[in-house]
């Protein structure tokens, strides 16, 4: 019985991760096509990927989008969580539920909805619209981590700061922010990662500038190249690190 469960576990892991492992292995392979046996090992594909102009442009765009979207989402998410945790106002519960919708909505719906909106308001598509789109699903991510942290934060800390003479701004910088800093960083890292490899919303909202996932996707039409394997492996490594870091911070 135990052996059976062990076997099943391995099978499930293989099912989920084997494709990824294959890509990682082939990114180091000398062969031009995915085939076994592996003819030999090389780092050439990584060199090529790093020197590829369009991949670099895509990476830069992705970083721009993810950074701006994360900053916008961080500010809105923090303020929203703060409002919901600290104040009682009309529509509070509804707001709380509504905030989470952008994560649950399929990207295609967000994409179509925002495209329609931008078209109707004559806002030209480009990186800016992609940033706005990504901020909409980054916002609930940050809102949730912040709301969870704030709910565990004793109210007396803020009161103590005010009590000792700190005005609201001082209280926020000296006590409020330091107490929520790790949660904010965790949320921001997660939002950044989500934005960085997002593709569906991006397809709808971008102009002629490609993000990295879009560039990769575009190339796939001409087949899987080892260069792409190398790029994907790098992305995998970086997002993996960010997610692990984010979880570490949440646990604090």
């Amino acid at each position: 019985m135990r052996r059976l469960i062990g076997l099943l576990t391995i099978f499930v892991y293989a099912f989920m991760h084997l494709p990824i492992i294959v890509i990682i292995i082939f990114s180091f392979s000398k062969g031009e096509i995915l085939s076994l046996p592996i003819p030999g090992w090389t780092l050439d594909w990584y060199r090529q990927a790093i020197n590829d102009e369009r991949l670099r442009a895509g990476l830069l765009n992705s970083l721009k989008v993810a950074t701006v979207a994360t900053i916008v989402a961080s500010i809105l998410g923090t303020l929203g969580a703060y409002a919901v945790q600290r104040y009682r106002f009309f529509g509070r519960q509804t707001f709380r539920a509504a905030v989470v919708i952008p994560i649950l909505l399929p990207g295609i719906i967000t994409g179509v909805a925002m495209l329609t909106f931008f078209a109707a308001t004559d806002i030209p598509l480009g990186l800016l619209t992609v940033m706005i789109g990504h901020a909409t699903f980054g916002f609930p991510v940050i809102f949730n981590t912040m709301a969870a942290r704030l709910s565990r934060l004793p109210r007396s800390l803020e009161e103590a700061a005010a009590d000792l003479g700190a005005n609201p701004v001082q209280a926020f910088w000296r006590v409020g922010l330091p107490s929520i800093r790790t949660a904010l960083m965790a949320g921001a890292l997660l939002a950044f990662t989500l934005s960085f490899d997002e593709i569906i919303v991006t397809i709808f909202l971008t102009g002629n500038q490609n993000t990295l996932p879009m560039e990769i996707w575009a190339r796939l039409r001409f087949g899987m190249t080892p260069e792409i394997n190398a790029t994907v492996t790098i992305i995998l490594l970086v997002s993996g690190l960010l997610v692990v870091l984010s979880q570490r911070l949440t646990r604090e």
Partner: protein, 344 residues
């Protein structure tokens, strides 16, 4: 400056349909150790929070040092609070916690921080984080933090309730010393009557949002304002009866001599209150039988049944005197001026 540190004038605070504080009026003198005593829900913490500025009274005024602060936010008041859960800033070291009030004022001063830490005997722990300290040490840091810039008034919200009995007693002595040495007006909220009696210069007893009595511990203990206060502070025996005339009460078929605690019309139903230490076991008097004798060391407490009522009698140990045995038939007596009559 005036001699009055804090004046709470007819302050009420309503939460939903509960009047947490109901026309509370208190006058606290400068340099006084003032205690607000009450059970949970009595309004003592709400009153404290109104003085601190965390709650705004729905009616009434708060005056600190002669200045009306009713509408003033907490950070502009010359009042600091020691919180029940300490509320130390977890990301700051002990000395940075203590320095906080000076830092936000823009007058950092290492010397004053060191002095405050020395005052609470924590000089060696300046670089620790709050999480590395014991409960008692954390409470000392909280104290140092709130006296470092010498506020004129310090509010303490059940500061000892989260601590072990032994540390509680230690800190109690220290609180009193700290108050004497700094001369800061302390307003101390507690549900522990022993703390209130031992620490206070004066105290207020609260119940259901109302102040029942204000006075020195001796006044409150020996002349409680009503039956609730009598029973809440210390132990008390009660006899039910009818007031005949000034100083005489018909209890069953006996006439008992006692002292009216206030003006009461003859013929009214009353209760006579006698403290256990004011009851004596003597040759004649109210007949009863000892149900239980509790040897307390310096004293013995007897539970005496008389008719269908139980009495507590506290007898100090006298040299050579043998405690009365359980089951012994005894008679109880008291002095008329130590038995107080209240309307029932």
């Amino acid at each position: 400056m005036s001699e009055i540190a804090v004046h709470v004038e007819n302050c009420s605070r309503v939460f939903g349909n509960v009047r947490a504080a109901d026309r509370v009026s208190l006058t606290i003198n400068r340099g006084e150790f003032f205690t607000i005593l009450g059970a949970s829900g009595s309004g003592k913490t709400t009153t404290l929070r109104m003085i601190a500025g965390f709650e705004e009274p729905d009616e009434g005024r708060i005056v600190v040092n002669g200045q009306d602060v009713t509408k003033l936010p907490a950070y502009k008041r010359d009042v600091h609070t020691v919180f029940q859960d300490y509320a130390l800033f977890p990301h700051l070291s002990v000395s940075d916690n203590v320095a906080f009030a000076l830092e936000v004022k823009g007058e950092p001063d290492r010397k004053r921080v060191e002095d405050a830490l020395a005052l609470v005997q924590l000089s060696g722990l300046a670089d620790r984080r709050p999480a590395q300290l014991s409960g008692g040490q954390q409470q000392r840091v909280a104290l140092a933090r709130s006296i470092v810039d010498r506020p004129s008034v310090l509010l303490l919200d059940e500061p000892l309730s989260a601590l072990d009995a032994k540390i509680r007693e230690e800190l109690r002595v220290e609180l009193k010393r700290l108050q004497r040495e700094t001369g800061i007006t302390f307003i101390y909220v507690t549900h522990d009557q022993e703390e209130a009696l031992t620490l206070s210069d004066r105290m207020a007893v609260m119940r259901r949002g109302k102040v029942l009595q204000v006075g020195s511990p001796i006044e409150v203990y020996e002349h409680p304002a009503d039956l609730f206060v009598a029973e809440f502070i210390g132990k008390a025996n009660f006899l039910s009866g009818t007031l005949l005339d000034r100083g005489r009460v018909q209890v069953g078929d006996r006439i008992v001599e006692a002292t009216p605690a206030m003006a009461i019309a003859p013929g009214r139903a009353v209760k006579v209150m006698i403290r256990p230490e004011n009851m004596q076991i003597q040759p004649t008097g109210l007949d009863g039988r000892i149900v239980q004798a509790l040897y307390l060391g310096p004293a013995t407490e007897y539970l005496v049944r008389s008719g269908d009522q139980m009495f507590r009698v506290l007898e100090l140990r006298r040299r050579g005197a043998k405690p009365h045995a359980e089951g012994a038939a005894v008679a109880l007596g008291w002095k008329a001026d130590e038995a107080l009559i209240y309307p029932a």
